[in-house]
Subunit: 331 residues, 2 copies
Amino acid sequence: MHEEPLFDKLTLIGLGLIGSSIARAARTHCAVRKIAALDSSPRVLARVRELEIVDDASGDVEQALGDADLVILCAPVGACGAIARDIAPHLKHGAILSDVGSVKGSIVKAVAPHVPPGVRFVPAHPLAGTEYSGPDAGFATLFKNRWCLLTPIDQAAFERDHSNADNVAPSLSQRAPHAENDAVDALAEFWKRLGAKVEVTTPEHHDLALAITSHLPHLIAFNIVGTADHLEKVTESEVIKFSASGFRDFTRIAASDPTMWRDVFLNNKGAVLEMLSRFNADLAALQRMIEVDDGEGLFDLFTRTRAIRRGIVEQGQDTAAPDFGRPHEKA
Amino acid sequence: MHEEPLFDKLTLIGLGLIGSSIARAARTHCAVRKIAALDSSPRVLARVRELEIVDDASGDVEQALGDADLVILCAPVGACGAIARDIAPHLKHGAILSDVGSVKGSIVKAVAPHVPPGVRFVPAHPLAGTEYSGPDAGFATLFKNRWCLLTPIDQAAFERDHSNADNVAPSLSQRAPHAENDAVDALAEFWKRLGAKVEVTTPEHHDLALAITSHLPHLIAFNIVGTADHLEKVTESEVIKFSASGFRDFTRIAASDPTMWRDVFLNNKGAVLEMLSRFNADLAALQRMIEVDDGEGLFDLFTRTRAIRRGIVEQGQDTAAPDFGRPHEKA
């Protein structure tokens, strides 16, 4: 349905849920002519070869990167800085370097200093995922109708601001701002081709918005599942048995990849702690309503929260089917 | 597939999500010969007649109750006491009275004093539901593979303990304990026929177990959706747009019926506040881990919570499909 590939060669670094989904979606939509894969785990690379979702999963770094037009880091946030440092010498002039990290401010700080002249770095974050990990978990429709946020930076300004830092690559002289804009446009086209909707924002605003829509919900889910795990008055087997009464909705995102989420919280600490303090203040007010039997206050809050759900369903960001469309017939 | 109905006549009081699902399931599984419906809302009764899911939705109280063998209160927890008082004079000798309330201690306190001699009261709670309300939202498979908890009480002991209370029905002389046991068995058979798995426990233990598996998760979901609703730094439209990154999982249960949930929190205050204080202590510890960059502690917690999810899926209490089986293809 699409005539021309957008890039000659895409190289993915990290073939987990997101990386392997990009590979599958890029192929399905003919977004690129060739795909190469690199991964720190030989086991993952071997599995990628078995799955046949890329053209080159040999693991040869020079071969994978030397002629790649688009290179996407699909590794945990905490690993991206070191990867950028290691691959920098292999990137070709004119290549676009991007990533898929759930935090953008710290990725920019960790990656930008290593970006060689002539390579355009455009941080990105597709808001998509499931609770599963690894190359088998990916699928081609993962990004369909989901948002992908691009958070371009002014690399020249970044270098000026950080020119005293020891780890800034030397001689990153003058940059052409329009080359950066072209790179943003090209990456936006790529994500749209994969089915995503694209929005451009700053790393700082991204990190605030995701702190409330993603990081805090995950933190709370991890916490409540943890609380249930060490109760004495109610057994773990009861918690599991009776989970359909509400608890199980939290366990899905609390089953997300531990490494990824450790890195998210450590790398977006400021925004997460800010949203958490807001959450705690609201929870204290809600607790007070229960203590003083404020039925009207409870009813008002629960009516407002119902309306938010409606907005999410109306905008196609969730299914309207009861129970998320869980299979009631087959249960 | 089942030969004999278990009861001649079932009367449901309140035809919302749960009541109308019981009607549909009871018919599908030939659990009773006839079904009557009562509801405080004439609009609901009219809709039930249109849906043709019961035999008698005339609203005639005497006709609905006079010959009913099983009467189930399917109203919000806070309304059950007054309903029990009103229907008591119409219940036939030997009938079983039950309910579906999410809280059991306060239901027992509110309903038991009104139960006439010769009527067996067996409180029950099917752990099933969706975020939708009303007679159109119900469906016959809602209870399939879900737990239904029965919390029988010793009515004689209850009356002894409360004999000083003004509102205890007079002359509730001696009861035959085996008659109560028969009623528990009969109600258990009824719920099994509807597809549920049955467990018997005490009202007190029920209320503790549900506080952690249901009430606290709902409270937290209501709270986090409320927090997102009044942020200034991130707009509501952004919260909705970016909700697929985690937030939307919370909005489903935060869209549940406001009246029902107001009553739950006000009627299970003690257990809910106890679980909430546990949750708060754990959250403070988690916050501290982030503050001091305790990556190992975070990783350990997130690994434990992943295992709980596995248990829930293995025991058939949730689907293993990614994203709860949300329709990725059609999005």
